[in-house]
Amino acid sequence: MFMAKKQEVIIDYDKIAEMSSFKKLSKKKNSFLWSVTVVFLIAYMVLPILTSYTQILHQKAVGEITWVWFYAAGLFIMTWGLAHVYVAKAGSFDREAKEIIEEYERGAGR
C-alpha cells in the first residue's frame, strides 16, 4: 500500500493530559477559580436574603445613608478587586501553561 508522507502536526492531547505538571496546573487553576466564584456568589446572594428577611440593612449608617448602600458599595469594590486578582493569577497560570507546552515539545521531539 502506498503511504503518502504528509508533514502534519498532530498534538498528542492524551500525552499532555497524563503529564503530572498538567494535572497539577489543572487542579490548582480549577480550585482557585471555583472557590473564588463560590465566595463572591455567596456574598452577592446574602444581600437579598438580608434585605428581604431582616431589617439590619435598613438601618441608617451615616446621615440618611442606610447600611444597604455600604453593602452594595462593598460588592462593587469586591468586583473590581476580584477582576484584578484574576488577571494577576491568570498571568502566572499562563507562564505555567507555557512551561508545560515546552515540556511536551521537548519530550515529543526526541
Binding site: 492531547y13 499532555i16 452577592y44 446572594m45 444581600l47 428577611y53 460588592l75 468586583t79 508545560i100 507546552i101
Partner: protein, 514 residues
C-alpha cells in the same frame, strides 16, 4: 422637536453610518464578517463589550427604575456588575481557547453532532429574539416620543437602520459602533451626573438627605422593599441577573473578536471598570430624576419610567443636553440591536444552514452571502414581533432573556468545560430543559396572568408566583444535563482530554514548533 435636536440626531446617526461604510471596505471574508478578523485590541474590545452591555435597558430602564423605586432599581446594577465576575472566572478564557465563531462552535468543539449544533443554535435564536424585541419596543417608544411618529414607523425605522449596519459592515462595523456608542454614553452619563452632584454641592450626604424627603415614599425610598416585597421573587430575579450574562450569546461572541486569551482577559477588565463606573453613576441619574423631574412627569412620559434619564437631561441641561442624550440612547439601542442580529444571523447561517444543511461545504463568498441573508431574516422576524409587542414591558423581556441564557446555555457551557462524563445527549437535554421550563414558567407567571384586567396579557390567576423563574429553571437546566448524560451510555474521554488541555493551556497547532 427643535432644530438642535434634529441636527444632533442626524450627526450621531451620520457618524455611525460613516463608520459602517468604512468598515464595509474592510469586510471580505466570513471571518471578517463575524469576528472583525480577530484584530481588536484589549481596550478597544473592552469598550465594545461595554457598549454591547449598556443597552437601552441599562441606561433608560435602570435610571427610570431607581428614579421611581429607589434601591430596588439599583438591584439591577448590582446584578449586572457581579455577573461579569461569573463570565471572567468561569467562562471567558476556556471559551476563547475553544471556539471559533459561535456558542455552537464552542460546544461542538467537544460534541461534533448535528443535533448539538441545532439545539445550541435554537437556544441562541430564542434568546436573541427576546432581547431584540425588548430593544425594539424600547426604541419604538423613544422615537415615538421624540419625533412624534407612530410606534410602528418608529420600530420599522430602527429596524431598517440596524439592518443596513449589519449587512454592510458585519462585526467590524458593530464593534466600532459599540465603541463610539460606549464613549458617547459614558460622556452623557458623566455630564448629567456632574450636573446632579452640582445641585447638591458635591455632598453625598446632602444628596441622600434630600432624597429621603423628595419622593412620596419618604425615607423608604432609600431602602429596598418598595417594589420587591416577595423575598423568593427577589432572589430568583437576582439569580437570573448574575448567571444570565455568562450564557448570553451576543456577549459571548465578543470574546472571539480578539486574537488571544490574554487580550480577551484584558478586554474584560476594561469592560468591568467601564460598566462598573456606569452603574455607580446610575445612582445619580435615578436620584436626580426623582428630585428634579418628579414621579408624575416621569410616568406621564412613559409608565415604566423609561424616559427618566432624558427628562433629567432636559431639566438640568436644556434642549442641547436633552437631544444629545436622546441621540445617544438611540445609538445605544441601534448598536445593541446590530450585535444581536449578528448573533442570531450566525446561528442561522453559520450553524444551521452552513454546517448542518450544507455540511460545511461553502465558499467564502457563499458564507458571507448566507450571513447577510441570515441577518435580514432575523431582522425581519424581530421587527414583526416587536410591532405586536408595544404594551410589553422592556425590562421584563430582557430579564427573561437572561433567565433563558442562565437556564439553557450556562449549564451546557459549564458541563462542557469542566465535566469529564458529559455527552451530547446531556447537551440537548440541558438546553431543551432550560429553554422549555423557563418559557413555560413565564407563561404561567404574573407577567402573563393577572386577576385585574389590563394588568397583564391574560385575565386569571397565575399558577407560578415568580415574575422571573430562574430559581426553578436554572437548577432544572443543570439537572436535565446531568440526567441526559447518565441515562445514556455515550462517552468520549479522549475528546474531553483534548478539550481540557486546549481550554487550560490555550495550546493550538501554531504553538507546537516541530
Amino acid at each position: 422637536m427643535s432644530l438642535i435636536a434634529i441636527i444632533m440626531f442626524v450627526s450621531i446617526v451620520g457618524l455611525t453610518l460613516v463608520i459602517t461604510w468604512w468598515a464595509s471596505k474592510k469586510t471580505s471574508s466570513a471571518s471578517d464578517f463575524y469576528t472583525a478578523g480577530g484584530g481588536l485590541t484589549g481596550w478597544q474590545n473592552g469598550l465594545a463589550i461595554g457598549g454591547d452591555y449598556l443597552s437601552a435597558a441599562s441606561f433608560l430602564g435602570i435610571a427610570g427604575a431607581i428614579a421611581l423605586v429607589g434601591f430596588d432599581g439599583f438591584f439591577f446594577s448590582i446584578g449586572y456588575l457581579v455577573a461579569y465576575l461569573v463570565v471572567l472566572y468561569i467562562v471567558a478564557e476556556p471559551l476563547r481557547n475553544l471556539g471559533r465563531f459561535t456558542l455552537a462552535d464552542m460546544i461542538t468543539a467537544r460534541f461534533d453532532k448535528p443535533k448539538v449544533r441545532a439545539t445550541a443554535a435554537l437556544s441562541t435564536i430564542v434568546i436573541v429574539l427576546f432581547y431584540m424585541i425588548a430593544q425594539l419596543v424600547g426604541a419604538g417608544a423613544l422615537i415615538q416620543l421624540l419625533l412624534g411618529i407612530p410606534y410602528w414607523s418608529a420600530v420599522i425605522l430602527v429596524g431598517i437602520m440596524m439592518t443596513i449596519y449589519v449587512l454592510f459592515g458585519g462585526m467590524t462595523a458593530t464593534s466600532w459602533v459599540q465603541i463610539v456608542k460606549a464613549v458617547l454614553l459614558m460622556l452623557g452619563t458623566v455630564i448629567i451626573s456632574f450636573l446632579v452632584l452640582l445641585q447638591f454641592n458635591f455632598n453625598i450626604l446632602t444628596m441622600f438627605s434630600e432624597l429621603s424627603t423628595a419622593t412620596d415614599a419618604g425615607s423608604a425610598y432609600l431602602n429596598p422593599g418598595l417594589r420587591y416585597t416577595n423575598g423568593i421573587d427577589t432572589i430568583s430575579m437576582l439569580i437570573a441577573l448574575v448567571l444570565g450574562t455568562a450564557g448570553l450569546p451576543h456577549i459571548l461572541m465578543r470574546f472571539f473578536t480578539v486574537k488571544d486569551a490574554k487580550t480577551a482577559r484584558s478586554s474584560v477588565i476594561w469592560a468591568t471598570w467601564i460598566v462598573g463606573l456606569f452603574y455607580v453613576l446610575t445612582i445619580f441619574l435615578g436620584f436626580g430624576a426623582a428630585a428634579f423631574v418628579g414621579k408624575e412627569e416621569i410616568i406621564a412620559a412613559n409608565p415604566a419610567g423609561n424616559m427618566a434619564a432624558p427628562l433629567l437631561a432636559q431639566a438640568l441641561g436644556g434642549d442641547i443636553l436633552f437631544s444629545f442624550v436622546c441621540a445617544v440612547a438611540f445609538a445605544t439601542i441601534l448598536a445593541v440591536v446590530a450585535g444581536l442580529v449578528l448573533s442570531g444571523a450566525s446561528a442561522l447561517s453559520h450553524d444551521i444552514y452552513g454546517q448542518i444543511i450544507k455540511k460545511g461545504k461553502m465558499t467564502e463568498k457563499e458564507q458571507v452571502l448566507a450571513a447577510r441573508i441570515g441577518s435580514l431574516t432575523i431582522a425581519a422576524v424581530s421587527i414583526l414581533l416587536a410591532l405586536g409587542a408595544q404594551t410589553l414591558n422592556v425590562a421584563f423581556l430582557v430579564s427573561l432573556a437572561f433567565c433563558i441564557a442562565a437556564s439553557a446555555n450556562l449549564p451546557v457551557i459549564i458541563y462542557t468545560i469542566y465535566w469529564k462524563k458529559f455527552n451530547s445527549n446531556g447537551v440537548v437535554a440541558a438546553m431543551l430543559t432550560g429553554l422549555i421550563s423557563a418559557l413555560v414558567l413565564v407563561a404561567l407567571s404574573p407577567n402573563v396572568w393577572n386577576p385585574t384586567p389590563g394588568a397583564a396579557i391574560f385575565v386569571g390567576e397565575p399558577l407560578v408566583m415568580l415574575t422571573n423563574p430562574a430559581l426553578i429553571s436554572v437548577p432544572l437546566g443543570f439537572i436535565g444535563g446531568w440526567l441526559g448524560t447518565v441515562l445514556s451510555k455515550e462517552q468520549d474521554l479522549a475528546k474531553y482530554r483534548e478539550v481540557d488541555v486546549k481550554a487550560q493551556t490555550g495550546i493550538s497547532v501554531q504553538d507546537v514548533s516541530h
